[in-house]
Amino acid sequence: MANWKTPEDLKYAKSDEWFRVEGDVVTIGISDYAQDQLSDIVYVELPDVGATLSAGGSVGVVESVKAASDVYTVVGGEVIEVNSQLEKEPESVNSDPFGKGWFIKLRVKDLSPLNGLMNAAAYIEYCSSR
């Protein structure tokens, strides 16, 4: 079994996104487990800055050679920043999924859907069971 990183300060969704909360800003990316499953990531499609995403809606698409996967957000809000570096260096999602590999930052009014997410321990268990 691979040893996936799962930083303690993040929340995890069953569809393998992580969420970092700083005030009313939520940063979203995909987990170490997810990047490992996808293997070499070659492209990330992101929304436009200023777009409004709804809770449960799509953030974008992440593509490897063998698969393409949708990325979702459990919280709705306005996109205030996207990681445009991913256009040139999509591989940073593989090498640093929680750092340089982040996808977008959302300004969120209602943070409550985050309460339904897993913490690091629960997420490790969830990944190991798959």
Binding site: D40, V42, Y43, E63, V65, P90, E91
Partner: protein, 503 residues
């Protein structure tokens, strides 16, 4: 620095180009010239310039890098890579077929219309359906037609809420993709442990979506190569919920004269002429995907289709054929009338077998089961029962040869001069290898393939590196797909950059 430039197997035409060379010469104008305004014209066209012999050698060289049916066994599951008879090519190239314009009048195209009409009739007879349109250009195109027809049928009856299509998880990717493309929603149904549709799951799904069920798409025999034992029951359940039944006809090579989908109760189906009726795959097309259906759906067919406009006065006379648009047609799916060149080839092929057509299926199924019987015990088989025209095996031995994958077996087969089977499909079988031998392969060919497969199974345990590093004898080794996707290079570099660099 030169070592850093990847060496090609064969230079591109752009690299072979020399300014001033010309392949084909054209005559001088024999009419008075008319001025061509310069402001309408382009100033340059970056195109290769090669002599005729160099062009020929270039493409012959490229052809030699390919594997093909003419070269050897091609057991690619779900693709039906059977022999493509040479006479069919000659027929399609007859001037009376090849050089006819699609918009010529009815009176000047009766031969082509008669051929299409007869082919339409045969396709109905073989499938047990009432009506057909041979306009779709490929299987996926025929599928698209079928789903649009189902949707329009419901709309026509005022049943506008029906937008959901059930698709088993073993289906070809085209099925869910077609559903979305037609503006409907696919609902995936998990298979049972035998790879069949789980009847309880189906009943529940039909109950849950009763008001919104448009229909179901299913492949027979299934993509796992087995005949769905409960097919008649499945059709009944979906019909009772108000849905229509779509059959993916990709595997018709297993059904010729064995069962007629129309008689089983299906409402609509597509054929792949390039699979079942041997029109060549051409390195990825062109195909042809006629859609056949029952009376209920006939008015919705894409068109126009060929019909008899005037019955003959005399028994010896030919009828008058012409174009007719079905009255509630989903519309036109393609400019003109479909891939006529493929219709000609399929016509020649069906003519050769005629009433012997069931033998195609008999021997295709015999060949597949023979391979199954001989690989059993060495390879894992997810379903231990008689197969149709193809069989699925698992390309791994988790205990005996950990680290060996289906892909490694496929690549190693190339070293034995065989084309690999289909990899990783169907998705619901781990490390799937889908093997379809077709009826045109002799016992000797099958035996040598089986020997290679058994040998590879040994190598997997004794010398797995041989598999990991395969293929060894092909024109290129395994290619870097990540680089291809990341550093997209989709065109030859412009020639003026090449020459500037050369200076």
């Amino acid at each position: 620095m030169e070592n850093s430039t990847p060496q090609p197997l064969e230079k591109t035409s752009y690299e072979l180009s020399q300014p001033g060379r010309q392949g084909i010469r054209l005559p001088d104008p024999d009419v008075p010239l008319t001025d061509i305004p310069a402001d309408l014209c382009r100033t340059d066209l970056d195109f290769p310039e090669m002599g005729e012999l160099d062009v020929v050698r270039h493409f012959i060289k490229l052809s030699q890098f390919n594997y093909s049916i003419d070269k050897g066994f091609y057991p690619l599951g779900s693709c039906t890579m059977k022999y493509n008879p040479k006479i069919n090519e000659d027929m399609a190239r007859l001037p009376g077929y090849a050089h006819v314009h699609p918009l010529q009048s009815q009176g000047t195209t009766q031969g082509a219309l008669a051929l299409m009409y007869r082919l339409q009739e045969w396709l109905c007879e073989i499938s047990g359906f009432d009506a057909v349109s041979i306009q779709p250009a490929a299987g996926a195109h025929g599928e698209f037609a079928g789903i649009l027809m189902i949707r329009k049928y419901h709309i026509d009856r005022g049943d506008v809420k029906r937008t959901k299509i059930l698709v088993p998880d073993s289906a070809h990717g085209t099925n869910p993709a077609t559903t979305s493309m037609a503006g409907l929603q696919a609902i995936e149904l998990p298979s049972d442990k035998n790879g069949d549709v789980d009847l309880d799951v189906l009943r529940k799904a039909c109950e849950q979506h009763k008001e919104e069920l448009a229909g179901m798409m299913i492949t027979v025999p299934s993509t796992l190569g087995v005949f769905e034992e409960h097919i008649v029951e499945i059709i009944k359940i979906v019909h009772e919920a108000g849905g229509l039944m779509y059959m993916d006809g990709a595997n018709m090579n297993a059904l010729l004269g064995v069962a007629k989908p129309g008689e089983l109760g299906f409402d609509v189906m597509h054929y792949n002429l390039h699979k079942t009726f041997s029109t060549p795959h051409g390195g990825g097309g062109p195909g042809s995907g006629p859609v056949v259906c029952n009376e209920k759906l006939a008015p919705f067919r894409p068109g126009p289709v060929v019909e008899i406009i005037e019955e003959p006065q005399d028994e010896d006379d030919a009828p008058l054929y012409g174009w007719v648009m079905p009255d509630k047609s989903i519309g036109r799916l393609k400019a003109f009338h479909g891939n006529f060149g493929m219709h000609v080839r399929a016509y020649a092929y069906i003519s050769a077998y005629g009433s012997d057509l069931p033998k195609v299926t008999h021997y295709a199924v015999l060949n597949a089961n023979y391979i199954r019987a001989r690989l059993k015990g060495t390879y894992l088989m997810p379903f231990d029962r008689m197969c149709g025209h193809e069989l699925v095996i698992e390309g791994h031995w988790p205990d005996k040869a950990p680290g060996v994958h289906a892909l490694d077996i496929s690549k190693r087969l190339m070293d034995y001069n065989f084309h690999p089977p289909t990899n990783y499909f169907p998705l619901i079988v781990p490390e799937a290898l889908l093997i379809e031998p077709t009826e045109t392969e002799s016992k000797e060919v099958l035996d040598s393939f089986i020997e290679a497969m058994l040998k590879i199974a040994e190598e997997a345990q004794n010398n797995p590196d041989l598999l990991h590093s395969a293929p060894h004898i092909t024109p290129v080794k395994r290619v870097d797909e990540v680089k291809a996707a990341k550093d997209l290079v989709l065109c030859c570099r412009p020639t003026h950059i090449e020459s500037a660099e050369a200076q």
